[in-house]
């Protein structure tokens, strides 16, 4: 039987230090979801084209399904649970999504939120065209995007 070497990685996830030994081929999305039980990060395509698995690595949006967990060694990650994991205390962007009905099934939502966090930091007052541009890499099959755009406009106003 072939033996696969395990690698030990150390990283921070939502501000908490994590150390795990894993197979080098384990996807970062699987690592977050199944090793750390952070199931808010969703997987829609596993080939980098829907954006559902978007998380932050050192503050920048990345797609966890096309990275290996070992590549996150030494980095700081933030998942949707890192925005707020408490349904009673929503992050302002999460609250704006609720306000404008920017989610239906909610499956794509964590990816949209995590795409938008760094975008809004860099563009605190974006116009609709800029918002539609940054969102064009994330797929939502339920909402038709309009209410997501409105959520971003609302969050930027606040």
């Amino acid at each position: 039987m072939q033996v696969i070497d395990l690698y030990t990685i150390r990283l921070t996830v939502n501000g908490v230090a994590v150390e795990r030994s894993i197979e080098p081929r384990m996807l970062l999305s699987d690592f977050l979801r199944h090793e750390l039980n952070l199931t808010g990060t969703h997987v829609g395509c596993e080939h980098g084209s829907c954006g559902a698995c978007t998380i932050l690595m050192d503050g920048a949006a990345v797609r966890a399904c096309i990275m290996f967990a070992v590549q996150a060694d030494g980095h700081a990650l933030t998942t949707v649970e890192g925005l707020s994991a408490d349904p009673d205390k929503l992050h302002p962007l999460q609250a704006a999504f609720r306000e404008t009905h920017a989610l239906q099934c909610g499956y794509c939502t964590p990816g949209f939120l995590m795409t938008l966090v760094p975008f809004l930091e860099e563009n605190p007052q974006p116009d609709e065209a800029a918002i539609r541009d940054v969102l064009s890499g994330n797929i939502c099959r339920c909402t038709g995007y309009q209410n997501i755009v409105d959520a971003v406009l609302l969050a930027a106003r606040k």
Partner: protein
């Protein structure tokens, strides 16, 4: 009932959990000792299986078991026929249903052949790659017309042709009408396949607890109760031993209600056999083959009209692509047949279809469920007739509308609920007038378009109508309970996939019981909470379950009034329910909290009086006598780039009539999402099969879904014609947005490219296909 919440844009109860990553989806279920499943699927569209070699796979690390069809013994059975054929004279019907694992033959690329169980998903997939199948290749049946050639290979060897069904339905006498017509329009039209592409793929987790003899199934299904009933029967268990949970589901749109997917049959069997929890999660590529699809049809249609544009009759002959198996009966083709006449008063109609087996994935309803095709045919014929007769396109439509006094209006032919197709209610002219006003039709035609054309811009306007049969039976039920805390729990059997049921249903209960919607907790999609029901499909959740919940809440309201009138010694008529209490009108000091009343209704001492029940709880059901017909108008202005043939949507207007509206915010969301899927269907999404039945674009890199830069803002307005068929007066709204977008694109693009003699008779389009059509039109 006071309607404080009904009709209000209440923010959704389910959102906080979804927004914080705390909502449970099927793939989030993780059980100790759980094994993972992967499938070996056929790489061929049509082949006879000579042998399957699993020995190399079995030796792979982590592999626990591998099964092929022969391992299943008597458990190997074709799936059930979900919908029997309609009672139509001279019908031909050859049902052939999917099998758990292919045995003698494979019939589409992606059909499951072997199943691997391993310690991890990675290991299961590694092993599946080491399975080898030796086959004799057979010609793949891909094209619908070629499928019916006398010498065509047969998808099912025991049939003498690739015919799943043949149905003719008639209203009046088309031939006679055509003989009297001033003009008859004849065209051949195509509608090709797409996929629902819910963002969450399918999945199933099964836990068999041998000691308790209890099975728990988490399944991405739209119909948990029928899944429980079917699984229990297949496995020889009592329905009480099987609990099916459809947790949060990442979009359904129809294909998540196929009974039974092969994986749904196999995983419970594997869990029992291995006595271990098992999990299978579909990946995106699998979803493109293994999940059902919809849309492929070819129509030969004709419309007979008078000189002034009055429709005398319509005749339509079409082929419907059933795929390799047809578990859903004739639902999709019947919808096409029965939706075609739309909002128009047509006395004579002949419709004939042949449902054809092909070597392609199975076809079952996907949002719109065949209605698109009918609407496409009718609206295109009207456009062509309008051009030929020199009548304005709005005018030709309004001249043929069913007049409001003609409702209920019957089209005589048999609908998918097996009753004669009858529209319960409708009022079409006001919606058209609103749409015309909103898009500023007259000014666009008279001023805007000529001005922009003079600037060299290619702008066009489309405007089309549709109806949607919604809210069909059989029934749904609900149990409403006032808990000691004062909170109200509601259980119903349907599943939910993002439609906002946690909120809209709470609004109905909140109004009946005088509580706040956030204090109403809905449990849905868990068979341990509610025993009876059918599922979420055909835009029926709000109509059927909504009315069941209303009935149960009303019964609880009566119990509250009765109990409180005993306690307070006043007449029931003098009581009111407000802010979670019941009190004598005008005497707030008499208020009893509903939670306290619930405790008093369930006493620890004394006796519950004969004829009464403990607690404040009631169960009730609702079954509509037939479906409620929603309707609407879509209008759009586009600009076409004559070089690239990219289409930019400048404005998009929807005027919709779905009866009374529970939550306008949620309704608008349904419309937005439907339109976005309609846009994809019309201009971006097409499943490309080659002549061998291989799907060439099975990824989101190659199958284009609409994105935020291609879906415009959607402007909406409403007309409210309440349905007389249910106490709440509601009609379904889930599919409407997606239905008329194909003909809308065709009409608007033709208008934008005026000067080119272009007739668009196919959907989906794409810039490159449009380029070919324009070149061909210019050449002829």
């Amino acid at each position: 009932m006071a309607t404080r919440y009904f009709g209000q844009p209440i923010k959704r109860n389910e959102d906080p959990r979804l927004l914080t990553g705390q909502a449970l989806f099927t793939d989030d279920v993780h059980l100790p000792g759980m094994l993972h499943v992967a499938f070996y699927r056929s790489p061929y569209a049509h082949a006879r299986i000579k042998s399957i070699d699993t020995s190399a796979a079995a030796a792979m690390p982590g592999v626990v078991a591998i099964y092929t069809a022969t391992d299943l013994g008597d458990y190997w059975q074709p799936g059930p026929l979900l919908v029997p054929p309609p009672p139509v004279k001279d019908i031909v019907f050859n049902p052939r249903m999917q099998v758990p694992l292919a045995r003698d033959k494979v019939r589409f690329v992606g059909e499951p052949v072997a199943v691997v169980v391993a310690a991890s998903r990675y290991q299961a997939e590694d092993a599946a790659e080491q399975i080898f199948m030796d086959v004799e290749l057979l010609p793949a049946i891909v094209d619908l017309e070629a499928a019916l050639a006398p010498d065509a290979a047969r998808v099912h060897d025991d049939l003498d042709a690739n015919v799943n069904a043949h149905v003719i339905q008639r209203k009046g006498d088309y031939e006679q009408a055509a003989a009297q017509a001033d003009v008859v329009i004849r065209r051949k039209l195509h509608y090709d396949r797409g996929t629902a592409a819910a963002m969450e793929n399918r999945g199933i987790v099964v836990d068999w607890d041998a000691r308790n003899q209890q099975m728990t199934v988490w399944d991405t299904t739209q119909a948990p109760i029928p899944i429980r009933n079917g699984l229990a029967a297949m496995l020889g268990l009592s329905e009480k031993q099987v609990r099916v949970i459809a947790p949060f589901i990442g979009g359904g749109f129809g294909p998540k209600i196929m009974m039974f997917y092969q994986e749904e049959v196999l995983l419970p069997w594997i869990a029992m056999r291995l006595n271990r929890p098992v999990k299978w999660i579909e990946d995106r590529q699998e979803n493109f083959y293994a999940t059902t699809q919809e849309r492929g049809q070819v129509h030969w249609a004709e419309m007979a009209l008078t000189r002034d544009g009055k429709i005398l009759g319509v005749k339509d002959v079409f082929l419907h692509d059933a795929g390799a198996y047809a578990p859903y009966g004739l639902t999709v083709a019947l919808n096409s047949q029965c939706t075609l006449l739309g909002q128009y008063d047509v006395a004579n109609y002949t419709s004939e279809f042949t449902s054809v087996f092909t070597n392609k994935p199975i076809v079952t309803p996907y949002r719109g469920a065949g209605r698109q095709h009918g609407v496409f045919v009718m609206e295109r014929l009207l456009d062509i007739a309008a051009k030929e007769l020199g009548i304005d396109k709005v005018e030709i439509r309004t001249r043929n509308f069913i007049a409001p006094e003609k409702f209920p209006y019957t089209n005589e032919i048999i609908y998918q609920d097996f009753a004669p197709l009858t529209y319960d209610s409708g009022n079409y002219l006001p919606a058209m007038q609103k749409a015309v006003a909103l898009i500023d039709y007259a000014r666009f035609i008279a001023e805007e378009q000529p001005r922009l054309r003079a600037e060299g811009k290619h702008v066009g306007l489309g405007i089309v109508t549709y109806v949607e049969g919604t809210g069909i039976g059989p029934y749904e039920g609900a149990k409403v309970t006032v808990e000691a805390s004062g909170r109200v729990s509601v259980a119903t059997g349907i599943g939910t996939q993002g439609q906002g049921h946690f909120t809209s249903f709470a609004q109905i209960v909140a109004d009946q019981l005088g509580v706040a919607p956030e204090n109403v907790r809905l449990v849905t999609g868990d068979t341990s909470e509610f025993y009876w029901g059918a599922g979420t499909f055909a835009s029926r959740g709000a109509v059927v379950a909504g009315n069941a919940i209303n009935a149960a809440a009303l019964a609880v309201r009566k119990k509250i009034l009765k109990k409180a009138s005993d306690e307070l010694e006043v007449d029931e008529a003098d009581l009111e329910l407000v802010d979670g209490t019941v009190s004598v009108v005008g005497s707030p000091q008499t208020a009893i909290k509903l939670g306290d009343l619930a405790v008093r209704a369930n006493p620890m001492r004394g006796a519950v009086k004969p004829g009464t029940e403990p607690g404040l709880e009631a169960t009730d059901y609702f079954g509509p006598e037939r479906g409620a017909t929603a309707s609407g108008v879509h209008a759009m202005i586009v600009e076409v780039d004559p070089e690239t043939l990219l289409v930019a949507i400048k404005r998009y207007v929807v005027v919709h009539d779905c009866g009374r509206v529970i939550n306008p915010m949620i309704l608008e969301g349904q419309i937005h999402g439907g339109v976005a899927q309609g846009i994809g269907n019309a201009f971006y999404e097409q499943l490309a099969f080659d002549e061998n039945g291989q799907l060439l674009n099975a990824s989101f890199m190659d199958y284009l879904l609409p994105t935020s830069d291609t879906v415009p803002r959607i402007e909406t307005d409403h007309v409210e014609t309440p349905s007389p068929l249910n106490p709440l007066g509601i009609k379904g709204a889930g599919e409407a947005g997606a239905i008329p977008v194909g003909p809308l694109f065709a009409q608007a693009i033709e208008d934008a490219l005026h000067g080119v003699e272009l007739e668009i008779l196919e959907i989906p389009l794409s810039p490159s296909r449009l380029y070919e059509l324009v070149q061909a039109a210019k050449a002829s």
